[in-house]
């Protein structure tokens, strides 16, 4: 029994050690292999989601993978990832690049290298018109919902310190809690929240203020400077040629139900590391 007990921590250590195994220069690996393994989410429209017709995972993040692979002169090997998988898969070297709605925060940057931020989205709070809540201060003592393990959760806890932040498994659950009056506000990124705003049938409204402008970037494994530089260079070229804007318009443009302009252009990530 004692021996068996002792094995458990040993197993846990062995399991975690796989995440930190050493690697040669990743960029050289990618070039030699001729493929870039790029991971995206699979259930987040319009970043990475399944096209109901073709059953393929498509979206803005997927197109970004494709564009970067093109700039590196290799083929794209797409990999679908869950939110929890993103960083471990990158750390273990099973994906070379993560293009999966990665919101930059200083703390997260200790675990993964962020490229330049290719878009920024404001964080909003959806409230009921009837409640006449018109500022973040008016949410003091009230309850707000957010999606568990999302950046809206982080910003809500940082900014709405006088409100109780309740987190739910996914967007629909957090929104349902709002619709059932269990909470007074629903914290979401502007773009992700638009479908819910439409769902309130005119009863809901965004508070006219942003909790924060969240920079989103691609993620590269820590300690791969060549890879990071190559992806950043690719992003700069794609920005200069207008390709990022083109892809943005394809998924977020005026013809889509998001109709959200890409106001902020490619920004070096150091800008946000205050």
């Amino acid at each position: 029994m004692k021996f068996r007990l002792a094995l458990i921590p040993a197993f846990v250590v062995a399991l975690s050690a796989t995440a930190f195994s050493a690697h040669a220069d990743q960029l050289a690996d990618v070039k030699a292999r001729g493929t870039l393994v790029c991971g995206t989410l699979t259930t987040t429209e319009p970043l990475g989601f399944q096209d109901p017709k073709t059953r393929q995972i498509v979206g803005f993040d997927v197109d970004m993978c494709e564009a970067i692979a093109g700039k590196l002169g290799v083929k794209l090997e797409h990999r679908g990832l869950s939110i929890e998988q993103r960083i471990p898969e990158l750390a273990a070297g099973r994906v070379d690049l993560v293009s999966a709605a990665l919101g930059y925060t200083k703390e997260r940057a200790e675990q993964v290298d962020f490229t330049a931020a290719h878009y920024q989205v404001p964080m909003r709070v959806l409230v009921r018109k009837a409640d006449k809540i018109d500022s973040f201060a008016a949410l003091a003592g009230k309850r707000v919902s957010a999606v568990k393990t999302s950046t809206p959760e982080i910003y809500a806890r940082q900014v709405l310190t006088k409100s109780e932040v309740l987190t739910y498994q996914d967007g629909p659950a957090a929104f349902l809690a709002f619709m059932q009056d269990k909470v007074d506000g629903f914290v979401t990124s502007h773009t992700a929240g638009l479908r819910y705003l439409a769902e309130t049938k005119g009863e809901g409204v965004y508070i006219n203020d942003a909790l924060a402008w969240e920079p989103s970037a691609l993620g590269v494994k820590k300690g791969e400077p060549a890879m990071l530089a190559a992806v950043n260079k690719a992003l700069e070229e794609l920005e200069a040629s207008g390709d990022i804007d083109k892809l943005w318009v394809k998924w977020y443009g005026p013809d889509t139900r998001f109709a959200f302009a890409r106001e902020k252009k490619l920004t070096p990530i150091a800008t946000f590391a205050k």
Partner: protein, 243 residues
């Protein structure tokens, strides 16, 4: 303990788990989560044992209707995923209540309340099955003897049959206890700030996925082992009283 085990234990404590929990506020966050988990587990477990005993006693009567209703109750809770049951209680049931009641629930930690109700019924369904098989393993001479002594049905259940059924069902009940303990993590899905909720928050803020989940695993393992130990102590005690 073997030498290999000692080394392994030390490397778990440093540097991985320590660094994450050494961040300001994180240890308190973990303790708070552990506290909520313990509270949720304790409340649901006690309530589940009571509900399961009542269900078992009713099912042992000769009423076909009562037996049918309880069989239905058990089938629902065994065949529908726990998460769905939780959502039904949290998002579904309150909608059927008057507006004032809904507001009262929302203002009084409705997340915890609904999670406790859902977990209680979920565990009670399984436990009542274990108690029922425990009851069936008590020889029929026991209830006949009780009847001949003039005990009523309730007295027979309370003093003669259920205690023996409980003893026979103990190993299975320890299993259900562990299952219930682990199922408390489902409450995270409806915003109860229990252990898993706290760990996921740490993971989200720092992206230290492995360390966060290792912290959670160690906590769950430690408490599960404690429960197994308590179970073995309890079964030794009832086994001795058998003499």
């Amino acid at each position: 303990m073997t030498g290999r085990g000692r080394i392994a234990c030390r490397s778990v404590q440093s540097p991985m788990a320590d660094l994450l929990l050494a961040r300001p506020g994180y240890f308190a966050l973990l303790l708070h989560g552990l506290g909520i988990t313990a509270k949720l587990f304790a409340v649901s477990w006690v309530a589940a044992i009571i509900v399961a005993s009542v269900l078992t006693a009713i099912r042992a009567t000769s009423s076909k209707i009562a037996q049918g209703v309880i069989a239905l109750f058990v089938e629902y809770h065994r065949n529908v995923p726990g998460l769905v049951q939780l959502f039904v209680w949290y998002f579904g049931v309150p909608q059927l209540l008057p507006r004032d009641w809904q507001r009262w629930i929302n203002r009084n930690d409705g997340e915890f309340l609904m999670a406790a109700i859902a977990l209680t019924l979920y565990a009670a369904a399984y436990m009542s099955e274990d108690l029922r098989s425990g009851l069936r393993s008590v020889s029929s001479g026991q209830s006949q003897a009780a009847k001949s002594l003039g005990l009523t049905y309730t007295q027979t259940m309370r003093f003669i049959l259920l205690p023996q059924a409980l003893r026979n069902a103990l190993p299975a009940l320890v299993n259900q206890t562990l299952a219930l303990f682990k199922a408390t993590s489902l409450a995270m899905m409806i915003g109860v700030a229990e252990l898993m909720h706290a760990v996921r928050q740490m993971e989200n803020e720092t992206y230290r996925t492995f360390e966060a989940f290792i912290v959670a695993s160690i906590c769950y393992l430690a408490i599960s082992y404690l429960l197994i130990y308590l179970g073995s102590v309890a079964s030794k005690r009832v086994a001795m009283s058998k003499r």
